[in-house]
Amino acid sequence: MRTVIKVPEKYLPLIDREACIRCKRCIKSCSYNALEFKDDKVRVKDGCVSCLRCVIDCPTSAITVVERPSSYAPHAVFSPEIRRSIMAQANSGGVLLSSCGANAEYMDIFNDILLDAAQVTNPSIDPLREPVETKTYLGRRPGKVVVDEDGKIDLDASETPIVVMDMPIMIGHISLGSISYNAQAALFRAATELNILAGTGEGGLHNDFYCHSKNLCAEVASGRFGVTSQYLKEVSCVDIKIGQGAKPGHGGHLPGEKVQKLISETRMIPLGTDALSPYPHHDIYSIEDLQQLISVLKESTEYRVPVGVKIAAVHNVGAIASGIVRAGADFLTIDGLRGGTGSAPRVIRDHAGMPIEIAVSAVDQRLQEEGLRDKVTLCASGSIRTAADMIKCIALGADVVGVCTSAMVAMGCTVCQQCHRGACSWGIATQIPELANRLDTEVAAQRVINMFHAWNEELKEIMGAMGIDSVESLVGNRDRLRYIGPNPRIAEILDVKHSGEGWG
């Protein structure tokens, strides 16, 4: 019995026949086999994902990709996406996979927040001429410096392991496996050059990348891939991954076909086997157990590096965060539901968790109420797309923002959401050597550097306009934000006033 009914194609490459010079470059570019050369012409087949590789590679700009005009009959409730997903599941009986972050407009609160600026009562600052500082620390803070009997400050007793970054930005955890060697090399190189942190992801650390260890945060996830004593000791901080915003409560699965020599060596698993990350850490069934893992990592790293915990933003995130800090975490990462992924069930990606705007604000407020906020570094991630998002996220309470998708975009990613298929035409989310080789590490690194440099300049411009000359004075400074969205209840929860409300 044949049960498969074709799911209508979503995208259509249009070829300008006059402009096309029949060089066939587009056919080579397409990693989804959606184009062919037939009858002396480039012809369109099924399977286009709108990754735009052919569009950008075409020397005569002869290709345009559009959404197929033969769309479903309009319906306000049964959107084409919903109908397409029902069709697909009826075909296969499978859990729908997707990648990148949640694809749901209603969750964007950043766009409903406005920033303040200085007028008259305090001078704005020109960051090009006067210093505006963005240096940021990651790690536990002592709360107060220790003063001895004679009234002298005891620095040895006051200092804690701290990582210094030149910007309040961390490139998030993206494992080798989910992205290619070249892509990870580019991110690490950029982090080193910018003197910020980059996460290793859960796939261990390739030998070639130890040269970047001063700027790396080593992830310890439930699969413990590649977690060795060297890995723990040589990096500048260690991060326990409990969850990820794109798939809270979910584990990971790198299919065996991606586990080739490179991945096998780095993850320290046999060639060709699936790399499975269990859903929970099976040594953490409670907060005391988390304390145990934090402690063993601190002991193993001889208390030289900060140890953090990363969780997905879920409904009770404030209380969980407070427990994590009390369990000894030196830094805490909250990943919002729009955060990226190389592969996640669509149902979790789009429906579970909490937007980072609300989560970071809830955690900041909760830690303040419990008198813990001045002891811990709070990192927030989950679709920090631009400098504006970064600034708002910091003012809502984050010390550091984690960025992944935008760094991918800087390298060439077009957010076509096909990472889980491993055929990334840009050479980023793939282990196929001929595709991976498309990414020039040096070029990609420089593009990431350029983007973060520009963000940092924009951060300085905004802080200067607010009359703030150092980024720590923006952290959790909700006074300088106003809400302008449709739901004032959100403003209340964010502890942000509505636009039009003044100080008193």
Partner: protein, 258 residues
């Protein structure tokens, strides 16, 4: 009409019925009245914080002596003549001065010479932060600011023309603070005494004086000596701070259509 050569004396400490000293409005009203009557030599006694003295006045022969402590914005928009302070001046002296001469036999405060585009300011002692900020040249004339002692940070910030000379008299350390010439894109700063690279702001660089610079500096030093009956030791070397470029932040922006 009185004799043109006579001097008008105004006592700024004079009390009104409530016992308050002369308000700046009344003080300036009397100054303007005297000037309008052709009295160009005016002496102000017992000045104590009155602001905006002689603002927007100016004629080539005007000469106002100020005894005491004039308030902020002394000589704002000055357009000629001479103001001479026997005491210290407060903040924002010579704000947007266009022409004329202000001589301070003491110190001046922060933001001295803000946005001046002409004239000469001579301060015998020290000055504060942001001295000479955004002074500029226009149609061939630029302001000259001379500070005898030291100044603090942000000297000549945004500077777009004119000349600043800081002499560091009786100043064992560097006579200028940090961020010297931050974002400057015109003009020159002469520093007599120590100056290290880390003190320069973005967009500024160190250079040697050429012949014209040396002549200009010598002229300003002579003016200082004449104004304050001082002798300045010529063996202390001068260094020059100048802009790297007339448009220092060109690469900062991106105008791609988004």
């Amino acid at each position: 009409m009185k004799d043109d050569n006579s001097t008008v004396v105004i006592d700024a400490g004079e009390r009104n019925q409530l016992g308050h000293p002369l308000d700046y409005r009344e003080l300036n009203r009397r100054i303007r009245k005297a000037l309008s009557e052709g009295q160009e030599r005016i002496v102000l006694m017992n000045v104590m914080g009155q602001r905006y003295i002689a603002s927007a006045t100016g004629s080539p022969g005007m000469r106002i002596e100020i005894h005491g402590t004039p308030g902020n914005d002394l000589g704002a928009f000055l357009n000629g003549g001479t103001l001479e302070v026997f005491g210290n001046a407060q903040d924002v002296t010579a704000n947007t001065m266009n022409e004329g001469r202000i001589v301070v036999h003491g110190n001046s405060g922060d933001i001295t010479g803000l946005a001046a585009r002409g004239g000469t300011l001579l301060v015998k002692g020290n000055s504060g932060y942001r001295v000479g900020i955004h002074i500029k040249e226009f149609e061939g004339s630029g302001p000259s600011l001379v500070i005898g002692g030291f100044v603090n940070d942000y000297l000549g910030e945004y500077m777009a023309g004119g000349t600043i000379l800081v002499m560091g008299i009786n100043c064992p350390e560097s006579p200028v603070g940090l961020n010297v010439g931050a974002g400057m894109h015109g003009g020159r700063i002469f520093v007599r005494g120590g100056l290290e690279g880390h003190q320069l702001g973005p967009g500024a660089c160190l250079a040697e004086l050429d012949e014209r610079d040396a002549a200009a500096a010598e002229d300003l030093i002579s003016q200082y000596e004449a104004a304050f009956a001082a002798t300045v030791d010529r063996t202390v070397p001068l260094r020059k701070v100048m802009p790297l470029d007339s448009r220092p932040f060109r690469g900062h922006y991106d105008s791609t259509t988004i």
